[in-house]
């Protein structure tokens, strides 16, 4: 269930080894799962794997790769860029033989446009950045410092930013300021409202909700059945 995949080094060095959590039984439909990022990744970790379990029960393979700089990856996060993550997501799709993609929250920003699939509660770059910078300005104010969104983004574009413990390089800060999820042909949005309960990324303390995992898994199964007709 946990194995590795190799990502070619863009600088021509040794291929990088990253982990994958997968339900891989060699079945015809194989969903590449691109998880939420940063704090939301922690909040949605269990939910994400629970959805994968639902897909497994429905006879669908799913593969959740670590992208460089994320989760267990040994690559430094501050060197990552949105462009490189998009390439890595595409490389993972090829290496793992994915037939579909499920992008979760900001993960939807990386969905390879050659794969059909779903964007679940897609998050835009500006909203992600705004939330993380706001957490920093609120914490700064508690510490008696005054920081602003404008000041921090201007600094971030040049020198990068540390936001809630995540070190983002200047390139990714600039990229996030304008990154919007775009549906490629064969991809569709699944809004949180359809799951009938508040998004688990909102919770101050990570929580789980079997009903939401059932519904999201069910929607994917239904969508696959419709397109197969």
């Amino acid at each position: 269930m946990i194995f590795t995949w190799n990502l070619a080094d863009p600088d021509g060095g040794l291929a990088k080894e990253e982990l994958v959590v997968g339900f891989d039984r060699g079945r015809p439909v194989r969903v590449l799962v691109l998880p939420a990022w940063f704090d939301e990744a922690n909040k949605l970790r269990r939910f994400t794997v629970e959805v994968m379990r639902r897909l497994d029960s429905a006879g669908i393979d799913s593969l959740l790769p670590d992208l460089p700089g994320c989760n267990e990856s040994l690559e430094p996060l501050e060197q990552q860029t949105l462009g490189y993550w998009r390439e890595a997501a595409k490389a993972a799709a090829e290496a793992l033989g994915a037939t579909h993609v499920l992008g979760i929250r900001a993960g939807a920003l990386l969905a390879p446009d050659g794969l059909p699939g779903w964007h679940y509660a897609a998050q835009s770059g500006p909203k992600l950045l705004r939330g993380m910078i706001r957490a920093r300005t609120i914490a700064a104010r508690e510490a008696g410092k005054f920081e602003t969104y404008e000041g921090l983004t201007a600094l971030g574009r040049v020198a990068g930013l540390s936001l809630s413990g995540w070190s983002l390089g200047p390139a990714i800060v600039s990229e996030l300021e304008t990154a919007e999820p775009a549906l490629a042909p064969g991809q569709s949005d699944i809004a949180q409202s359809i799951l009938g309960a508040p998004g688990l990324w909102l919770r101050a303390e990570p929580d789980e909700d079997a009903g939401q995992a059932d519904r999201l898994g069910g929607m994917i199964v239904q969508s696959l059945a419709e397109t197969a007709r």
């Binding site: 939330g131 706001r134 957490a135 300005t137 914490a139 809630s164 919770r203 101050a204 303390e205």
Partner: protein, 98 residues
């Protein structure tokens, strides 16, 4: 300036209150009845250990989405975040600017 009839403005106030309670319930994982018990003096930031700066940032960002408002850096201060009444007064002022 036009004044809304009393009942209409009261209904609108109640709707803001309901939305805000719903949002806090979603962030804190409370059920509707627990959130319904929130009063003006109910403590938020600095009173509830799970409501840290990251959770507050998430709450404000979700408030912007659900209420259709923009919250500036200057808007965010201790008074607004400390109690439910402070947050409600802030939401009202954003929705009914004078």
């Amino acid at each position: 300036m036009t004044t809304l009839p009393h009942t209409e403005s009261a209904a609108r106030e109640a709707a803001i209150d309901r939305q805000l309670k719903g949002l806090i319930a979603d962030v804190l994982g409370l059920d509707a009845a627990q959130a319904e018990a929130f009063g003006p003096e109910t403590g938020l930031f600095g009173h509830l250990p799970e409501l840290d700066s990251m959770a507050v940032a998430g709450l404000l960002t979700e408030m912007e989405d659900r209420l259709g408002i923009v919250i500036e850096d200057d808007d965010v201060d201790g008074e607004m975040l400390e109690t439910y009444g402070g947050l409600l007064a802030f939401a009202r002022s954003k929705l009914n600017p004078r």
